[in-house]
Amino acid sequence: MNRVAVTGQGLVCALGNTVAEGWARLIAGECRILPMKDPGSPPYKFRNGAEAWDFKPLDHFTEKDLVMLERFALLAVVAAREAVAQSGIRFEGDLSDRSAVITGSSVGGQFTEEEGYIRLYRENNPRVTPLTIPRTMANAGASRISLEFGIHGPAYTVATACSSSNHALGQAFWMVRNGQITAAIAGGSEAVFAEGLLRAWEAMRVVAPDVCRPFSADRKGLSLGEGAGMLVLENWNHARARGAAILGEVIGFGMSSDAHHITQPCVEGPAKAMDWAIRDADISPDQVDYINAHGTGTLANDVTETQAIRTVLGKRADSVLVSSTKSMHGHTLGAAGAIEAVACLLALKHGIVPPTVNFTARDPACDLNVIANEARTAQMQIALSNTFAFGGLNATLVLKGSED
């Protein structure tokens, strides 16, 4: 089995347009869940969201590109460009056939679909744009990335709601580890601030009226966010041979299905995913230093996740460092795992745990070592990154800091 190095990272979300901008805000504990640009008419029951505030498509793309690509795909491409540039990898010759693009997106392009419905049902105009299909397809970002970098190997998109990008990263990791591919651009993206989608989230009554407060006693739900995270995963020896800087390592992945309820979480499923990931990494639970929790801030998730962590980590659960960075960049749904994997790798590299902000009071039902409101320095080697999705689909990555 091959070791799997991370040689590039890309990030664009409410925290900023680059990994460096994002990290600065993560360790500053800056909540970027702010009043939405469009508050809705009538107003949504939640006023805040974590939009990619500083993202200006024309800074990165031509007008023609914007005709072809929706926001979720644009975000994916920008994050992939940053990751590839940092990696210095060039997908040429055999490597282009032995590399993959695997992305996650919960719903793909919603804006074009909604515009089409407005034409059809409000304006009684049956002429919807012929670009509806290529703009909305969930693989639009993956396809554009493969086109842009000339990658001819496997390219596809995983849609497993909030676990999408952890499933994408996990599959890419296994493929590199097993030797089926040499490198991959993997991660995910989501652009949720489309009116129909926001109304659907509103109807589910899981969005906090103000901001999400993961693991805090007074939490009232999640905060929606948009963005993208991408990693370049690479065969360790290949990365070493070309002199690439190794930013960290993916060492394990596990997944499970609750088979319990379509939206209600349970303890067993997430515990199985974490347990599998730890066994896949061939480590013991005592070696886990930090958990970037799924930590959505809903009443149900944070309690069941606490119990799942206790089930898997046993005594270690008393001391393992836990935070939910969703308190700063929002719940980015299909991009969550990728953005949080970037946060984990940076935490391991710098020895700093990004905090759970907006935290006001401990909840006895969430009795973990939650790093509240301010970042903390800590020596860490290994982190878990959890994602649990509606539909009961769980995926956990195990990440290790760089030895460089």
Partner: protein
């Protein structure tokens, strides 16, 4: 007259619950618990959505989380309908 209206209200709530759950209305009584009717939290949100439409009311999130039975639901809806009627300008339908 209030008695009649209130009975009608309970019947309407029961009809909405039955329709949403796709079960016969006669299987739902005021004394039924959500647990007995196999109504889980997602079903509850769906029922509340339909009740808001039926009665033209807005049910707060806190209220939704406390619903455990048909009687709770009927009384909750009754309170909201009354306060809406009181808030309406005199002469309004």
């Amino acid at each position: 007259m209030p008695e009649q209206v209130e009975d009608a209200l309970a019947e309407k709530v029961i009809r909405v619950i039955a329709h949403t759950q796709r079960i016969p209305p006669e299987s739902v009584s005021l004394d039924s618990t959500f647990e007995a009717l196999k109504i889980d939290s997602l079903d509850g949100i769906n029922i509340v959505f339909e009740l808001e439409k039926e009665f033209n009311i807005e049910i707060p999130d806190d209220g939704v989380q406390n619903l455990r039975s048909v009687r709770d639901t009927v009384e909750g809806v009754r309170t909201l309908v009354r306060s809406k009627d009181q808030a309406a300008p005199s002469g309004a339908a």
